[in-house]
Protein backbone atom coordinates (compact mmCIF):
# COMPACT_ATOMS: atom_id res chain seq x y z
CA UNK A 1 0.00 0.00 0.00
CA UNK A 2 1.34 3.41 -0.91
CA UNK A 3 1.73 6.23 1.52
CA UNK A 4 -0.99 8.78 1.00
CA UNK A 5 -0.05 11.43 3.54
CA UNK A 6 3.19 12.19 5.31
CA UNK A 7 3.65 14.81 7.95
CA UNK A 8 7.27 15.73 8.85
CA UNK A 9 8.16 17.72 11.94
CA UNK A 10 5.08 19.83 11.64
CA UNK A 11 4.87 22.71 14.06
CA UNK A 12 2.45 25.55 14.47
CA UNK A 13 2.71 28.21 17.14
CA UNK A 14 0.30 30.97 17.97
CA UNK A 15 2.63 33.40 19.63
CA UNK A 16 4.13 31.58 22.61
CA UNK A 17 1.60 28.74 22.46
CA UNK A 18 2.87 25.67 20.63
CA UNK A 19 -0.38 24.24 19.33
CA UNK A 20 1.33 21.57 17.26
CA UNK A 21 4.89 20.67 18.23
CA UNK A 22 7.12 18.68 15.90
CA UNK A 23 4.49 16.17 14.80
CA UNK A 24 5.49 13.43 12.38
CA UNK A 25 3.44 10.50 11.12
CA UNK A 26 2.32 8.93 7.89
CA UNK A 27 -0.91 7.43 6.65
CA UNK A 28 -1.11 4.64 4.09
CA UNK A 29 -3.77 4.36 1.46
CA UNK A 30 -6.79 2.47 2.74
CA UNK A 31 -5.99 3.08 6.39
CA UNK A 32 -8.47 4.02 9.04
CA UNK A 33 -6.42 6.10 11.47
CA UNK A 34 -7.84 7.37 14.71
CA UNK A 35 -6.61 10.56 16.35
CA UNK A 36 -7.48 11.16 19.95
CA UNK A 37 -6.30 13.45 22.70
CA UNK A 38 -7.59 15.73 25.42
CA UNK A 39 -9.22 19.02 24.52
CA UNK A 40 -6.63 21.54 23.49
CA UNK A 41 -4.22 18.85 22.35
CA UNK A 42 -3.94 20.38 18.90
CA UNK A 43 -6.07 17.96 16.88
CA UNK A 44 -8.14 20.57 15.08
CA UNK A 45 -5.04 22.69 14.51
CA UNK A 46 -3.38 19.66 12.95
CA UNK A 47 -6.40 19.25 10.68
CA UNK A 48 -6.31 22.91 9.73
CA UNK A 49 -2.63 22.56 8.85
CA UNK A 50 -3.14 19.46 6.72
CA UNK A 51 -6.24 20.84 5.01
CA UNK A 52 -4.61 24.17 4.22
CA UNK A 53 -6.71 26.41 6.44
CA UNK A 54 -3.62 27.69 8.25
CA UNK A 55 0.11 27.67 7.48
CA UNK A 56 2.57 25.82 9.68
CA UNK A 57 5.42 27.60 11.41
CA UNK A 58 7.72 24.83 10.25
CA UNK A 59 7.61 21.32 8.85
CA UNK A 60 6.36 19.65 5.71
CA UNK A 61 3.22 17.98 4.50
CA UNK A 62 3.49 15.51 1.64
CA UNK A 63 0.26 14.38 0.01
CA UNK A 64 0.18 11.84 -2.82
CA UNK A 65 3.93 12.31 -3.15
CA UNK A 66 3.74 16.07 -3.61
CA UNK A 67 4.90 18.67 -1.12
CA UNK A 68 1.78 20.65 -0.33
CA UNK A 69 2.77 22.64 2.74
CA UNK A 70 0.94 25.93 2.79
CA UNK A 71 -1.62 25.06 0.15
CA UNK A 72 -5.10 26.52 0.18
CA UNK A 73 -8.22 24.59 1.24
CA UNK A 74 -9.59 24.62 -2.30
CA UNK A 75 -6.36 23.08 -3.61
CA UNK A 76 -6.75 20.37 -1.01
CA UNK A 77 -10.36 19.72 -1.96
CA UNK A 78 -9.53 19.49 -5.63
CA UNK A 79 -6.72 17.05 -4.86
CA UNK A 80 -9.14 14.72 -3.11
CA UNK A 81 -8.76 15.82 0.49
CA UNK A 82 -12.01 16.44 2.35
CA UNK A 83 -12.52 17.54 5.93
CA UNK A 84 -15.38 18.17 8.30
CA UNK A 85 -15.52 21.02 10.78
CA UNK A 86 -15.71 20.40 14.50
CA UNK A 87 -18.38 23.08 14.82
CA UNK A 88 -20.55 22.47 11.76
CA UNK A 89 -20.44 25.20 9.14
CA UNK A 90 -23.49 24.67 6.95
CA UNK A 91 -24.59 27.11 4.26
CA UNK A 92 -27.27 28.58 6.46
CA UNK A 93 -29.59 29.92 3.80
CA UNK A 94 -29.64 26.87 1.57
CA UNK A 95 -31.50 23.59 1.77
CA UNK A 96 -29.89 20.40 3.03
CA UNK A 97 -29.56 18.93 -0.43
CA UNK A 98 -28.02 22.10 -1.82
CA UNK A 99 -25.46 22.06 0.97
CA UNK A 100 -24.31 18.68 -0.26
CA UNK A 101 -24.80 19.46 -3.95
CA UNK A 102 -22.26 22.27 -3.68
CA UNK A 103 -19.61 19.72 -2.75
CA UNK A 104 -20.75 17.43 -5.55
CA UNK A 105 -20.22 20.29 -8.01
CA UNK A 106 -16.52 19.56 -7.76
CA UNK A 107 -17.09 16.54 -9.98
CA UNK A 108 -20.53 16.97 -11.50
CA UNK A 109 -21.03 19.25 -14.46
CA UNK A 110 -24.63 20.28 -13.88
CA UNK A 111 -26.73 21.20 -10.90
CA UNK A 112 -29.10 18.34 -11.67
CA UNK A 113 -26.27 15.80 -11.60
CA UNK A 114 -24.91 17.36 -8.42
CA UNK A 115 -28.31 17.07 -6.76
CA UNK A 116 -28.55 13.42 -7.79
CA UNK A 117 -25.16 12.72 -6.25
CA UNK A 118 -26.24 14.63 -3.16
CA UNK A 119 -29.41 12.54 -2.86
CA UNK A 120 -27.36 9.36 -2.91
CA UNK A 121 -25.01 10.62 -0.22
CA UNK A 122 -27.89 11.82 1.94
CA UNK A 123 -29.53 8.42 1.65
CA UNK A 124 -26.29 6.81 2.87
CA UNK A 125 -26.09 9.18 5.79
CA UNK A 126 -29.75 8.91 6.73
CA UNK A 127 -30.75 12.49 5.98
CA UNK A 128 -32.82 11.77 2.88
CA UNK A 129 -36.08 12.68 4.58
CA UNK A 130 -34.95 16.26 5.25
CA UNK A 131 -33.28 16.82 1.90
CA UNK A 132 -35.46 19.75 0.81
CA UNK A 133 -35.67 21.38 4.22
CA UNK A 134 -33.66 24.48 5.16
CA UNK A 135 -30.62 23.61 7.28
CA UNK A 136 -31.87 25.90 10.00
CA UNK A 137 -34.25 23.18 11.20
CA UNK A 138 -31.59 20.51 11.63
CA UNK A 139 -30.63 19.27 15.09
CA UNK A 140 -27.03 19.33 16.26
CA UNK A 141 -26.64 15.64 15.49
CA UNK A 142 -28.12 16.08 12.02
CA UNK A 143 -25.75 18.98 11.35
CA UNK A 144 -22.83 16.72 12.22
CA UNK A 145 -24.11 14.13 9.77
CA UNK A 146 -24.51 16.86 7.16
CA UNK A 147 -20.82 17.67 7.61
CA UNK A 148 -20.00 14.05 6.83
CA UNK A 149 -22.31 14.09 3.82
CA UNK A 150 -20.66 17.22 2.42
CA UNK A 151 -17.21 15.70 2.84
CA UNK A 152 -18.18 12.43 1.17
CA UNK A 153 -19.87 14.23 -1.72
CA UNK A 154 -16.42 15.54 -2.69
CA UNK A 155 -15.47 11.91 -3.59
CA UNK A 156 -12.23 12.27 -1.64
CA UNK A 157 -9.19 10.01 -1.46
CA UNK A 158 -8.55 11.14 2.11
CA UNK A 159 -11.11 12.43 4.54
CA UNK A 160 -10.45 14.13 7.87
CA UNK A 161 -13.34 13.61 10.27
CA UNK A 162 -13.45 16.02 13.21
CA UNK A 163 -15.61 14.71 16.08
CA UNK A 164 -18.46 13.58 13.87
CA UNK A 165 -20.15 11.64 16.66
CA UNK A 166 -20.82 14.52 19.01
CA UNK A 167 -24.54 14.94 19.55
CA UNK A 168 -25.49 11.58 18.07
CA UNK A 169 -27.61 9.02 19.92
CA UNK A 170 -26.13 5.64 20.69
CA UNK A 171 -27.89 4.07 17.71
CA UNK A 172 -26.73 6.84 15.40
CA UNK A 173 -23.18 6.40 16.68
CA UNK A 174 -23.34 2.72 15.78
CA UNK A 175 -24.70 3.50 12.31
CA UNK A 176 -22.11 6.18 11.68
CA UNK A 177 -19.28 3.95 12.93
CA UNK A 178 -20.52 1.29 10.56
CA UNK A 179 -20.46 3.76 7.69
CA UNK A 180 -16.98 5.05 8.52
CA UNK A 181 -15.65 1.49 8.75
CA UNK A 182 -16.77 0.81 5.17
CA UNK A 183 -14.95 3.81 3.72
CA UNK A 184 -11.48 2.27 3.28
CA UNK A 185 -13.05 -0.52 1.25
CA UNK A 186 -14.61 2.17 -0.96
CA UNK A 187 -11.18 3.64 -1.59
CA UNK A 188 -11.40 6.44 0.97
CA UNK A 189 -8.60 6.74 3.53
CA UNK A 190 -9.82 8.08 6.85
CA UNK A 191 -8.25 10.09 9.63
CA UNK A 192 -10.70 10.35 12.46
CA UNK A 193 -10.57 12.67 15.45
CA UNK A 194 -13.03 11.52 18.04
CA UNK A 195 -13.99 11.89 21.68
CA UNK A 196 -16.62 9.16 21.67
CA UNK A 197 -14.04 6.56 22.59
CA UNK A 198 -16.11 3.38 22.49
CA UNK A 199 -16.74 3.99 18.81
CA UNK A 200 -13.21 4.75 17.73
CA UNK A 201 -11.49 2.17 19.88
CA UNK A 202 -13.59 -0.53 18.23
CA UNK A 203 -13.37 0.64 14.64
CA UNK A 204 -9.87 2.04 14.20
CA UNK A 205 -6.99 -0.47 13.95
CA UNK A 206 -4.43 2.25 14.61
CA UNK A 207 -4.74 5.31 16.80
CA UNK A 208 -2.43 8.27 17.37
CA UNK A 209 -2.66 10.09 20.67
CA UNK A 210 -1.93 13.80 20.77
CA UNK A 211 -1.30 15.73 23.97
CA UNK A 212 -0.22 19.35 24.20
CA UNK A 213 0.74 19.41 20.54
CA UNK A 214 2.92 16.30 20.64
CA UNK A 215 2.33 12.69 19.68
CA UNK A 216 2.60 10.58 22.82
CA UNK A 217 1.48 7.25 21.39
CA UNK A 218 0.86 5.57 18.05
CA UNK A 219 -0.47 2.04 17.89
CA UNK A 220 -3.36 -0.39 18.26
CA UNK A 221 -6.19 0.48 20.66
CA UNK A 222 -5.35 -2.42 23.00
CA UNK A 223 -1.80 -1.13 23.41
CA UNK A 224 -2.97 2.40 24.06
CA UNK A 225 -5.46 1.30 26.66
CA UNK A 226 -2.55 -0.09 28.67
CA UNK A 227 -0.11 2.77 27.99
CA UNK A 228 0.28 4.71 31.22
CA UNK A 229 1.18 7.95 29.46
CA UNK A 230 -2.02 7.83 27.45
CA UNK A 231 -4.12 6.93 30.42
CA UNK A 232 -2.68 9.74 32.46
CA UNK A 233 -2.81 12.42 29.79
CA UNK A 234 -6.14 11.65 28.26
CA UNK A 235 -8.20 9.36 30.35
CA UNK A 236 -7.15 10.51 33.79
CA UNK A 237 -5.64 8.43 36.59
CA UNK A 238 -7.12 5.10 37.65
CA UNK A 239 -8.97 4.32 34.43
CA UNK A 240 -9.00 0.99 32.64
CA UNK A 241 -10.71 -0.52 29.66
CA UNK A 242 -12.29 -3.59 31.07
Amino acid sequence: MTTLLEVHNLSCSFGALKAVADVSFSVREGELLGLIGPNGAGKSTLYNLIAGAIKPTSGDIIYKGRAVTGWKPYHAARSGLARTFQIPKPYGNLSVIDNVALSALLHDMTIAAARDSAEAVLADIGLANVAEAPVSILTAGQLKRLEVARALALRPSLVLFDEIMAGLTRTEVMEMTGLVATLPARGITVIWVEHVLYAIMKAAPRIIVLDRGEIIADGAPEQLARDPAVIKAYLGEDTSFA
Binding site: A53, P73, Y91, N93, L105, T110, A123, P134, L154
Partner: protein, 331 residues
Protein backbone atom coordinates in the same frame (compact mmCIF):
# COMPACT_ATOMS: atom_id res chain seq x y z
CA UNK B 1 -29.84 3.46 -5.47
CA UNK B 2 -33.48 4.29 -4.91
CA UNK B 3 -34.78 7.78 -5.29
CA UNK B 4 -35.04 8.44 -1.59
CA UNK B 5 -36.53 11.87 -2.16
CA UNK B 6 -39.58 10.54 -3.95
CA UNK B 7 -40.26 7.98 -1.26
CA UNK B 8 -39.90 10.25 1.70
CA UNK B 9 -42.80 11.11 3.99
CA UNK B 10 -44.62 14.45 3.62
CA UNK B 11 -42.26 17.38 3.72
CA UNK B 12 -41.27 19.00 6.93
CA UNK B 13 -42.19 22.62 7.37
CA UNK B 14 -40.36 24.43 4.62
CA UNK B 15 -40.01 27.81 6.24
CA UNK B 16 -39.23 30.45 3.68
CA UNK B 17 -35.97 31.97 4.69
CA UNK B 18 -35.03 35.50 3.84
CA UNK B 19 -32.92 34.24 1.01
CA UNK B 20 -34.76 31.99 -1.39
CA UNK B 21 -33.87 28.39 -2.00
CA UNK B 22 -32.48 27.37 -5.33
CA UNK B 23 -35.29 27.43 -7.89
CA UNK B 24 -35.83 25.04 -10.69
CA UNK B 25 -33.61 26.18 -13.45
CA UNK B 26 -35.45 28.03 -16.17
CA UNK B 27 -38.71 27.97 -14.31
CA UNK B 28 -40.79 31.10 -14.74
CA UNK B 29 -43.79 31.54 -12.52
CA UNK B 30 -47.23 32.73 -13.51
CA UNK B 31 -46.69 35.74 -11.28
CA UNK B 32 -43.60 36.80 -13.20
CA UNK B 33 -45.33 36.36 -16.53
CA UNK B 34 -48.31 38.39 -15.37
CA UNK B 35 -46.03 41.16 -14.17
CA UNK B 36 -44.30 41.21 -17.53
CA UNK B 37 -47.64 41.39 -19.33
CA UNK B 38 -48.71 44.32 -17.17
CA UNK B 39 -45.46 46.15 -17.89
CA UNK B 40 -45.78 45.59 -21.62
CA UNK B 41 -49.34 46.86 -21.48
CA UNK B 42 -48.29 49.96 -19.56
CA UNK B 43 -45.60 50.70 -22.11
CA UNK B 44 -48.01 50.33 -25.01
CA UNK B 45 -50.89 52.28 -23.54
CA UNK B 46 -51.19 56.02 -24.20
CA UNK B 47 -50.36 57.17 -20.71
CA UNK B 48 -49.53 60.81 -19.86
CA UNK B 49 -45.91 61.86 -20.29
CA UNK B 50 -45.21 62.13 -16.58
CA UNK B 51 -46.29 58.59 -15.82
CA UNK B 52 -44.24 57.21 -18.69
CA UNK B 53 -41.31 59.10 -17.23
CA UNK B 54 -41.87 57.41 -13.88
CA UNK B 55 -42.13 54.04 -15.65
CA UNK B 56 -38.84 54.59 -17.47
CA UNK B 57 -36.96 55.51 -14.33
CA UNK B 58 -38.56 52.60 -12.46
CA UNK B 59 -37.52 50.10 -15.14
CA UNK B 60 -33.93 51.31 -15.11
CA UNK B 61 -33.77 51.33 -11.32
CA UNK B 62 -35.27 47.83 -11.22
CA UNK B 63 -32.59 46.63 -13.63
CA UNK B 64 -29.83 48.19 -11.54
CA UNK B 65 -31.40 46.77 -8.36
CA UNK B 66 -31.24 43.31 -9.95
CA UNK B 67 -27.63 43.93 -10.92
CA UNK B 68 -26.80 45.09 -7.38
CA UNK B 69 -28.42 41.94 -6.05
CA UNK B 70 -25.96 39.71 -7.87
CA UNK B 71 -23.19 41.19 -5.76
CA UNK B 72 -25.13 42.02 -2.61
CA UNK B 73 -27.75 39.31 -2.42
CA UNK B 74 -26.12 36.38 -4.17
CA UNK B 75 -22.50 36.58 -3.06
CA UNK B 76 -22.93 38.80 -0.01
CA UNK B 77 -20.90 41.81 -1.17
CA UNK B 78 -23.08 44.60 0.16
CA UNK B 79 -22.19 47.74 -1.75
CA UNK B 80 -23.15 51.34 -1.06
CA UNK B 81 -21.15 52.55 -4.02
CA UNK B 82 -22.88 51.11 -7.05
CA UNK B 83 -23.45 54.61 -8.41
CA UNK B 84 -19.76 54.46 -9.34
CA UNK B 85 -20.51 51.77 -11.94
CA UNK B 86 -23.67 53.59 -13.03
CA UNK B 87 -21.61 56.72 -13.65
CA UNK B 88 -18.72 54.96 -15.39
CA UNK B 89 -21.19 53.43 -17.82
CA UNK B 90 -23.04 56.71 -18.34
CA UNK B 91 -19.98 58.92 -18.78
CA UNK B 92 -18.16 56.44 -21.04
CA UNK B 93 -20.93 55.96 -23.55
CA UNK B 94 -21.82 59.66 -23.49
CA UNK B 95 -18.26 60.93 -23.91
CA UNK B 96 -17.62 58.42 -26.68
CA UNK B 97 -20.87 59.45 -28.36
CA UNK B 98 -20.73 63.22 -27.98
CA UNK B 99 -17.00 63.80 -28.46
CA UNK B 100 -15.93 60.93 -30.69
CA UNK B 101 -19.02 60.04 -32.63
CA UNK B 102 -19.16 56.47 -31.37
CA UNK B 103 -22.71 55.19 -31.51
CA UNK B 104 -24.14 54.47 -28.07
CA UNK B 105 -25.03 50.96 -29.22
CA UNK B 106 -21.30 50.26 -29.06
CA UNK B 107 -20.40 52.84 -26.44
CA UNK B 108 -22.67 51.16 -23.91
CA UNK B 109 -20.67 47.93 -24.05
CA UNK B 110 -17.39 49.78 -23.64
CA UNK B 111 -18.78 51.61 -20.65
CA UNK B 112 -20.07 48.37 -19.20
CA UNK B 113 -16.67 46.71 -19.62
CA UNK B 114 -14.95 49.60 -17.88
CA UNK B 115 -17.48 49.39 -15.07
CA UNK B 116 -16.86 45.65 -14.83
CA UNK B 117 -13.14 46.32 -14.57
CA UNK B 118 -13.75 48.77 -11.76
CA UNK B 119 -15.98 46.24 -10.03
CA UNK B 120 -13.36 43.51 -10.30
CA UNK B 121 -10.73 45.92 -8.98
CA UNK B 122 -12.92 46.77 -5.98
CA UNK B 123 -13.47 43.11 -5.20
CA UNK B 124 -9.75 42.35 -5.47
CA UNK B 125 -8.61 45.37 -3.48
CA UNK B 126 -11.23 44.73 -0.83
CA UNK B 127 -10.56 41.00 -0.78
CA UNK B 128 -9.71 40.89 2.89
CA UNK B 129 -12.41 43.29 3.98
CA UNK B 130 -15.58 41.97 5.52
CA UNK B 131 -18.95 43.40 6.38
CA UNK B 132 -18.97 47.08 7.26
CA UNK B 133 -15.37 47.51 6.14
CA UNK B 134 -16.13 46.35 2.65
CA UNK B 135 -19.18 48.61 2.58
CA UNK B 136 -16.98 51.55 3.49
CA UNK B 137 -14.58 50.70 0.70
CA UNK B 138 -17.45 50.79 -1.80
CA UNK B 139 -18.56 54.16 -0.42
CA UNK B 140 -15.02 55.40 -0.88
CA UNK B 141 -14.87 54.14 -4.44
CA UNK B 142 -18.08 55.93 -5.35
CA UNK B 143 -16.78 59.11 -3.80
CA UNK B 144 -13.57 58.83 -5.79
CA UNK B 145 -15.60 58.53 -8.99
CA UNK B 146 -17.81 61.45 -8.00
CA UNK B 147 -14.91 63.72 -7.12
CA UNK B 148 -13.13 62.66 -10.27
CA UNK B 149 -16.18 63.51 -12.32
CA UNK B 150 -16.47 66.89 -10.59
CA UNK B 151 -12.87 67.87 -11.06
CA UNK B 152 -11.76 66.30 -14.31
CA UNK B 153 -13.64 68.99 -16.21
CA UNK B 154 -11.93 68.49 -19.52
CA UNK B 155 -13.20 64.93 -19.61
CA UNK B 156 -16.52 65.08 -17.82
CA UNK B 157 -17.55 68.70 -17.95
CA UNK B 158 -17.18 68.99 -14.20
CA UNK B 159 -20.19 70.11 -12.23
CA UNK B 160 -21.96 71.36 -15.33
CA UNK B 161 -21.73 67.97 -16.93
CA UNK B 162 -22.31 66.93 -20.51
CA UNK B 163 -25.39 67.54 -22.61
CA UNK B 164 -26.42 65.08 -25.27
CA UNK B 165 -27.85 66.98 -28.18
CA UNK B 166 -31.22 65.39 -28.82
CA UNK B 167 -30.92 64.55 -32.50
CA UNK B 168 -33.39 61.71 -32.89
CA UNK B 169 -32.19 58.63 -34.68
CA UNK B 170 -31.69 54.99 -34.03
CA UNK B 171 -27.93 55.25 -34.44
CA UNK B 172 -27.79 57.89 -31.71
CA UNK B 173 -30.14 55.98 -29.47
CA UNK B 174 -32.24 59.16 -29.19
CA UNK B 175 -35.94 58.69 -29.79
CA UNK B 176 -38.74 61.12 -30.30
CA UNK B 177 -41.31 58.82 -28.81
CA UNK B 178 -41.23 58.26 -25.11
CA UNK B 179 -42.85 54.89 -25.71
CA UNK B 180 -39.76 53.73 -27.58
CA UNK B 181 -37.63 54.69 -24.60
CA UNK B 182 -39.98 52.86 -22.28
CA UNK B 183 -39.77 49.75 -24.45
CA UNK B 184 -35.97 49.99 -24.47
CA UNK B 185 -35.77 50.28 -20.69
CA UNK B 186 -38.24 47.43 -20.21
CA UNK B 187 -36.09 45.30 -22.52
CA UNK B 188 -33.07 46.12 -20.37
CA UNK B 189 -35.01 45.07 -17.28
CA UNK B 190 -36.16 41.82 -18.87
CA UNK B 191 -32.64 40.95 -20.03
CA UNK B 192 -31.11 41.65 -16.61
CA UNK B 193 -33.89 39.63 -15.03
CA UNK B 194 -33.23 36.71 -17.37
CA UNK B 195 -29.52 36.86 -16.57
CA UNK B 196 -30.32 36.90 -12.86
CA UNK B 197 -32.52 33.82 -13.17
CA UNK B 198 -29.85 32.03 -15.21
CA UNK B 199 -27.17 32.80 -12.67
CA UNK B 200 -29.48 31.85 -9.79
CA UNK B 201 -30.03 28.39 -11.22
CA UNK B 202 -26.46 27.77 -12.36
CA UNK B 203 -23.41 26.12 -10.81
CA UNK B 204 -21.87 29.54 -10.45
CA UNK B 205 -24.95 30.76 -8.59
CA UNK B 206 -24.81 27.92 -6.08
CA UNK B 207 -21.13 28.65 -5.52
CA UNK B 208 -21.97 32.29 -4.92
CA UNK B 209 -24.57 31.39 -2.31
CA UNK B 210 -22.10 29.08 -0.60
CA UNK B 211 -19.39 31.74 -0.49
CA UNK B 212 -21.93 34.15 0.94
CA UNK B 213 -23.12 31.77 3.63
CA UNK B 214 -19.82 30.29 4.72
CA UNK B 215 -16.67 31.15 2.90
CA UNK B 216 -14.45 28.70 4.81
CA UNK B 217 -16.76 25.77 4.20
CA UNK B 218 -17.04 26.69 0.54
CA UNK B 219 -13.26 26.90 0.31
CA UNK B 220 -12.96 23.44 1.87
CA UNK B 221 -15.37 22.19 -0.80
CA UNK B 222 -13.20 23.34 -3.68
CA UNK B 223 -14.62 26.81 -4.36
CA UNK B 224 -12.24 29.75 -4.77
CA UNK B 225 -14.01 32.53 -2.86
CA UNK B 226 -11.94 35.37 -4.29
CA UNK B 227 -12.65 34.42 -7.89
CA UNK B 228 -16.33 33.85 -7.17
CA UNK B 229 -16.67 37.24 -5.51
CA UNK B 230 -14.69 39.09 -8.14
CA UNK B 231 -16.70 37.55 -10.96
CA UNK B 232 -19.98 38.38 -9.26
CA UNK B 233 -18.93 41.99 -8.67
CA UNK B 234 -17.79 42.32 -12.27
CA UNK B 235 -21.10 41.02 -13.61
CA UNK B 236 -23.00 43.28 -11.23
CA UNK B 237 -20.96 46.31 -12.27
CA UNK B 238 -21.28 45.47 -15.97
CA UNK B 239 -25.07 45.36 -15.83
CA UNK B 240 -25.20 48.50 -13.68
CA UNK B 241 -23.04 50.33 -16.20
CA UNK B 242 -25.49 49.51 -18.96
CA UNK B 243 -28.26 50.98 -16.83
CA UNK B 244 -26.23 54.14 -16.43
CA UNK B 245 -25.69 54.50 -20.17
CA UNK B 246 -29.39 53.99 -20.88
CA UNK B 247 -30.26 56.57 -18.26
CA UNK B 248 -27.93 59.05 -19.92
CA UNK B 249 -29.51 58.41 -23.30
CA UNK B 250 -32.95 59.22 -21.92
CA UNK B 251 -32.16 62.03 -19.54
CA UNK B 252 -29.66 63.62 -21.96
CA UNK B 253 -27.94 65.54 -19.21
CA UNK B 254 -25.08 63.96 -17.38
CA UNK B 255 -23.67 65.49 -14.23
CA UNK B 256 -22.30 64.12 -10.97
CA UNK B 257 -25.42 64.90 -8.97
CA UNK B 258 -27.60 62.84 -11.24
CA UNK B 259 -25.45 59.81 -11.82
CA UNK B 260 -23.04 59.38 -8.96
CA UNK B 261 -24.49 60.79 -5.77
CA UNK B 262 -24.51 58.84 -2.50
CA UNK B 263 -28.32 58.94 -2.60
CA UNK B 264 -28.21 56.96 -5.81
CA UNK B 265 -25.97 54.32 -4.30
CA UNK B 266 -28.25 54.09 -1.34
CA UNK B 267 -31.32 53.64 -3.55
CA UNK B 268 -29.64 50.88 -5.52
CA UNK B 269 -28.99 49.05 -2.26
CA UNK B 270 -32.29 49.81 -0.61
CA UNK B 271 -34.57 48.56 -3.37
CA UNK B 272 -33.29 44.96 -3.34
CA UNK B 273 -33.11 45.00 0.45
CA UNK B 274 -36.74 45.96 0.75
CA UNK B 275 -37.97 43.74 -2.02
CA UNK B 276 -36.09 40.60 -1.07
CA UNK B 277 -32.35 39.98 -1.09
CA UNK B 278 -31.14 36.94 -2.90
CA UNK B 279 -34.25 36.39 -4.97
CA UNK B 280 -34.75 37.36 -8.58
CA UNK B 281 -38.16 38.97 -8.21
CA UNK B 282 -37.25 40.81 -4.99
CA UNK B 283 -35.37 43.78 -6.44
CA UNK B 284 -38.03 44.18 -9.11
CA UNK B 285 -40.77 44.28 -6.49
CA UNK B 286 -38.76 46.69 -4.42
CA UNK B 287 -38.29 49.01 -7.36
CA UNK B 288 -41.91 48.76 -8.48
CA UNK B 289 -43.14 49.51 -4.97
CA UNK B 290 -40.78 52.33 -4.07
CA UNK B 291 -39.84 54.29 -7.17
CA UNK B 292 -43.29 55.27 -8.38
CA UNK B 293 -44.26 56.18 -4.83
CA UNK B 294 -41.18 58.36 -4.46
CA UNK B 295 -41.68 60.12 -7.77
CA UNK B 296 -45.40 60.64 -7.32
CA UNK B 297 -45.04 61.91 -3.77
CA UNK B 298 -42.38 64.32 -4.89
CA UNK B 299 -44.41 65.73 -7.73
CA UNK B 300 -47.71 66.02 -5.88
CA UNK B 301 -46.53 67.13 -2.48
CA UNK B 302 -43.14 68.66 -3.17
CA UNK B 303 -44.64 72.11 -3.48
CA UNK B 304 -47.25 71.85 -0.74
CA UNK B 305 -44.94 71.82 2.23
CA UNK B 306 -41.20 71.70 2.04
CA UNK B 307 -40.01 68.19 2.66
CA UNK B 308 -43.48 66.79 3.27
CA UNK B 309 -43.00 64.23 0.56
CA UNK B 310 -39.83 63.06 2.24
CA UNK B 311 -41.58 62.62 5.57
CA UNK B 312 -44.36 60.58 4.01
CA UNK B 313 -41.88 58.62 1.95
CA UNK B 314 -39.90 57.84 5.09
CA UNK B 315 -43.03 56.58 6.78
CA UNK B 316 -43.90 54.51 3.75
CA UNK B 317 -40.46 52.93 3.82
CA UNK B 318 -40.84 52.02 7.48
CA UNK B 319 -44.18 50.36 6.81
CA UNK B 320 -42.69 48.38 3.94
CA UNK B 321 -39.81 47.29 6.11
CA UNK B 322 -42.13 46.11 8.83
CA UNK B 323 -44.38 44.22 6.44
CA UNK B 324 -41.62 42.51 4.53
CA UNK B 325 -39.61 40.19 6.69
CA UNK B 326 -36.41 41.02 4.94
CA UNK B 327 -33.69 43.54 5.49
CA UNK B 328 -29.98 43.91 5.00
CA UNK B 329 -28.37 40.86 6.54
CA UNK B 330 -26.11 41.19 9.51
CA UNK B 331 -22.70 39.65 8.99
Amino acid sequence: MERAIADRPPALVNRRSRWRMMPERGAVSLFELSLLAICVALVALPVPHFYKDVMIVTFIWAGVALAWNIAGGFVGLISFGHAAFFAVGAYTSTILGVRHGVTPWIGIWIGALLAAGLGAALALIGARLRGPFFILSTLAAAEVVRIGALNWSTLTGGAEGIWITPVPGIANMIFESQTTYAALMLSYLVVVYAITKLVEGSRYGLRMFAVRDDEDAASAAGVTPLLTRTGAMAISAFLTGIGGSLFAQYFQLLDPTHVVSPELSFQFAMLPALGGLGTAIGPVLGAFAIMPAAELLRSYLGAVFQGLHLVIFGGFLIVVMLISRVGLPGR
